[in-house]
Symmetry: C3
Subunit: 216 residues, 3 copies
């Protein structure tokens, strides 16, 4: 058994790691809070929180054929356990922090899209697969969360959540094709995802609902 | 980035490609129509349609350990977008086309079973795994669709839908063991799936329902 | 086509194979019985039973990147078909056998945790991944079963079901690090899982429910 990776993430911490930790934490919080409305126990809430945080990247990694990222560092599990503690001890105050969480969640979303797009492009997939994987990284955690708590995925009804991912990942592909430096591209992509989501939320912009065949 | 595959599917189109396009299109239509009863937005409907069309093959490819087929050609995404356009612009007329869609859907089912069985056999798996993968290719898209729209999978209650897949894939294995030429085998398998489903539908043949322990 | 594996599991039967068969059988029974409350047909019940039995190991194998175990021996499918026959022909008597099934199910759970932890450790993953995979092997079959029958996973509300897996797999890692012989470790782990679950069930020990933000 090799314990060396157990704390390996401390050896070199980059800015992107800190932002990713915050994004994971914010996604886990959203999963745990939604789970708490369903009367499930602490273990269930922890699982739902963890799956919300790592589900998108896991589906992406399975599809592109690599070992899921969270199995290579315990930091994502730590972020979820921290989120769990926060929700348990401060739950009465969380309601007033919805705006704060929206910011965290949107920053996390932007970063998740960057990570997903970058990882997929590095494996040589076509641009439209890169866009698909960037979007899957951003939204699939929430989709699995909603399946687990027995609801229709809210990403199918929310303000431009997925569209923000698609636009961001599309921009990432375009900038890459023009050989824009990677770190500039990363920032531009994450900011774009954030801004699209922020603007859509602020002005209540939504995609049209697909009406049923008997609706009118 | 390599855009060469982007339109690579035009370079050599075979009959099987056209039928597969039609099958994908028909499966996507079924997903989008069911989604439209749930008041989800256009993006959600597109995802549900796409997953219905490619879900079975994706689960099969993950299980047999290859890159999911739809990540190698954009044609499946195009078929879904086309299906989406049709549903949006012609939705009032679709109700009258149920019979037409049943034909498309059954043809698509037959072909999906052939593709799934053939691909699995080529990788050297046992015949019962070939039958399982042929069936999974045919039914899992619909199962995931029903999970996403929060319903019990209708394949568990419908007329011999899965049984048609099992019989077809079983025939494929038997004909293969007698060295029947592949193209004859493919047609025989697809036609068998179609006929079993068509006959079951026409005469309302269903599997018995498993009663609960307190039902009588 | 190679039929040699078709009955290959008869060539050398070990005690662990018999226990694993019993565990698979017990898990399949639980899936089929729960399915029977939902008015689904025989095929649907068979699928739900099979998925309950093999779902945990399948998710584990996909995550650690190997071919799912059940595709390499037909014995798991046979165990499910046997379970199906038992439920159909003896369903009126099953209600009185709840205690018996609880024993089978708990023994199966213990063995599944051992198999999952051992297989993951052999691939060189970190201890916390070993614990995660032991737990996933034990619980994910039931989670997928509950998703298929459109319920919130009962593992999120039940007596220390998952906690028993975590404690057992954790013990497995500790004993391994002290070089305890594998067969001693296997028995100790399986017995621990069984005892924790048995005691929790007998005394009604549960994890606290995570209350919602407006609950008090």
């Amino acid at each position: 058994m090799d314990y060396s990776n157990f704390l390996g993430f401390w050896t070199e911490i980059k800015l992107v790691d800190i932002i990713e930790f915050i994004g994971t934490f914010a996604f886990a919080i959203s999963g745990i809070r939604l789970a708490s409305a369903k009367k499930i126990d602490w273990f269930g809430a922890l699982v739902v929180g963890f799956v919300t945080a790592i589900g998108g990247g896991t589906v992406r990694d399975l599809l592109i054929g690599v070992t899921p990222f969270w199995m290579q560092s315990i930091v994502y599990l730590f972020a979820t356990i921290l989120a769990m503690g926060i929700v348990i001890y401060f739950k009465k105050y969380l309601v007033h922090l919805n705006n704060t969480f929206f910011w965290f969640d949107s920053i996390g979303l932007g970063l998740f899209v960057v990570v997903g797009a970058e990882k997929t492009m590095a494996m040589g997939f076509d641009p439209w697969v890169v866009i698909a994987m960037g979007t899957i990284t951003g939204i699939m955690g929430g989709v699995i969360r909603d399946i687990l708590i027995n609801e229709i995925p809210i990403v199918f009804t929310q303000e431009l959540y997925a569209v923000a991912c698609i636009i961001g990942a599309g921009l990432f592909c375009i900038l890459s094709s023009y050989n824009v430096p990677l770190n500039v591209n990363e920032v531009a992509t994450a900011v774009t995802v954030f801004v699209v989501r922020f603007v859509a939320n602020r002005f209540g912009i939504k995609l049209p609902v697909l009406k049923g065949e008997k609706d009118d």
